[in-house]
């Protein structure tokens, strides 16, 4: 399993040479690939406070540790494909990596993918807040298990 940085580097390379339209198409492909919640998480969604309140559209995130391995589970409203695609990328990057590594998720991927310019200042700010949220979640997991 490649580490978080290697996975993100590969994704960055996928985006790098695309024009704006192709970048958005690839982002939407990632959004389509985010698996729906299992019934278990669907049920937990209603009882746990997993809503990302700083996010503009309904986003529910679980930053979990399974035997010290990170797992990012997310539910993003279909009307927010940008957030959905970006969360899918973050989930791929941290999957099964040690939680301490997931907590150090690089925060410059938007720029390196060339998405910051495609999305503009305010949307990019929202996605950077999402990275911060995921890092914080895994940092808490790392602290709990150390």
């Amino acid at each position: 399993m490649p580490d978080t940085t290697a996975t993100l580097n590969a994704i960055v390379a996928e985006f790098a040479d695309l024009d704006a339209r192709e970048k958005l198409e690839l982002l939407v492909d990632y959004a389509r690939g985010l698996p729906p919640l299992t019934p278990e998480y669907e049920a937990r969604k209603t009882v746990e406070d997993r809503r990302v309140h700083e996010c503009q559209t309904p986003v529910f995130l679980w930053t979990e540790s399974a035997g010290g391995k990170a797992r990012l589970i997310a539910d993003v409203a279909p009307e927010a494909p940008t957030v959905k695609g970006f969360v899918a990328i973050l989930a791929a990057a941290v999957a099964d990596r040690p939680v301490a590594e997931a907590a150090a998720l690089p925060d410059d991927v938007l720029e390196r993918m060339g998405l910051a310019d495609v999305l503009g200042i305010l949307r990019s700010r929202g996605l950077r807040a999402m990275i911060a949220r995921v890092r914080r979640g895994f940092a808490e997991q790392a602290a709990a298990t150390s």
Binding site: E25, E79, T82
Partner: protein, 299 residues
């Protein structure tokens, strides 16, 4: 009685479906989440993004006249094209793009009533085809300042006690929160509202299906209940100017208000600027107090 109402600017999804291959019509999608266009758009529609296409990326302003001409030309829009805007979020950004097109004097602008939501509810098809049109030629005049309010003008307007509408949620108006419920704080340092502004949250203009309320109901709200005068200069603002574009559209085109400006700097400018007067708390008395508690004010 309104003397300058323009109901023809509002077109139905059916009208749009009937004009998809009309060369005189260009359908334009403008969204909060621009990947929605990529996910599926009205067949043949082009995308114009408020943040990347319409705003200058260096100065906090709109693109200049030459850039607007290049944008229209690239999207296959000529001066005589009928441009139909639609989008997500109750057409906020569609109204915003419509307003920017009016800044540059584009004559034939329309809004597809209900936007993406109504198109979906009507079971109409989405397309993922890449859309390109042959470049058109476009000549734009300089910006029309008569529909755009800048900060100094808003300050004078406020001091003169003229019609000023704050279309944000009551929580934002009262200064309890500096962004929409569930939205990130996009950077206003102070909360509250411009003194004298009436709080008329934008959802009061809309039905659940994303369409505008019937003109009679809108008239009842703005003219009868709020007692706004159609001929008095009016300024609308929100946080970054998109929700107030919707109210600007309603007042100007559906209700025939003669002189309405959108303050696009809105709270993000006012709440950060030095020495701007700010009021906090609920409106005391006045027509705003008579407003019913607004349902669904969260975005």
């Amino acid at each position: 009685m309104a003397n300058d109402v323009h109901p023809e600017v509002l077109v139905s999804t059916e009208w749009v479906a009937d004009h998809l291959s009309d060369p005189a019509v260009r359908v334009v999608e403008s969204d909060e989440d621009r990947a929605l266009y990529t996910l599926g758009h009205v067949p043949g529609a082009v995308e114009i993004d408020w943040a990347v296409d319409l705003q200058d990326q260096i100065t906090r302003d709109y693109i200049d006249r030459a850039a607007f001409e290049r944008l229209c030309a690239a999207k296959g829009i000529s001066n005589d094209t009928t441009v139909v805007f639609y989008g997500d979020k109750n057409n906020w950004w569609a109204c915003y793009a419509f307003w920017v097109f009016k800044l540059y004097g584009h004559e034939r602008c329309r809004i597809m009533n209900g936007g993406r939501k109504r198109w979906e509810l009507d079971g109409r098809p989405w397309s993922t085809d890449r859309v390109d049109y042959p470049p058109a030629s476009y000549v734009a005049p300089e910006q029309d300042g008569s529909i755009r309010a800048l900060r100094d003008e808003v300050l004078k307007h406020c001091k003169a006690g003229r019609q000023l509408l704050d279309v944000r949620s009551p929580e934002e108006y009262r200064g309890e929160r500096m962004h929409m419920p569930d939205y990130p704080n996009e950077g206003a340092i102070r909360g509250g509202h411009i003194p004298g502004a009436l709080n008329v949250p934008w959802p009061l203009n809309c039905n659940d299906d994303g369409t505008f309320k019937p003109v009679k109901e809108l008239e009842k709200l703005y003219v009868k209940e709020l007692r706004l005068k159609r001929r008095s200069p009016t300024i609308a603002y929100c946080r970054i100017g998109e929700r107030s574009s919707l109210t600007w559209f309603v007042l100007t085109y559906l209700l025939g208000f003669a002189n309405v400006k959108n303050y696009d700097g809105s709270w993000l400018e006012w709440g950060n600027a030095v020495r701007m007067p700010i009021a906090k708390g609920a409106a005391t008395g006045g027509p705003a107090a008579a407003l019913p508690p607004s349902p669904a004010v969260s975005a």
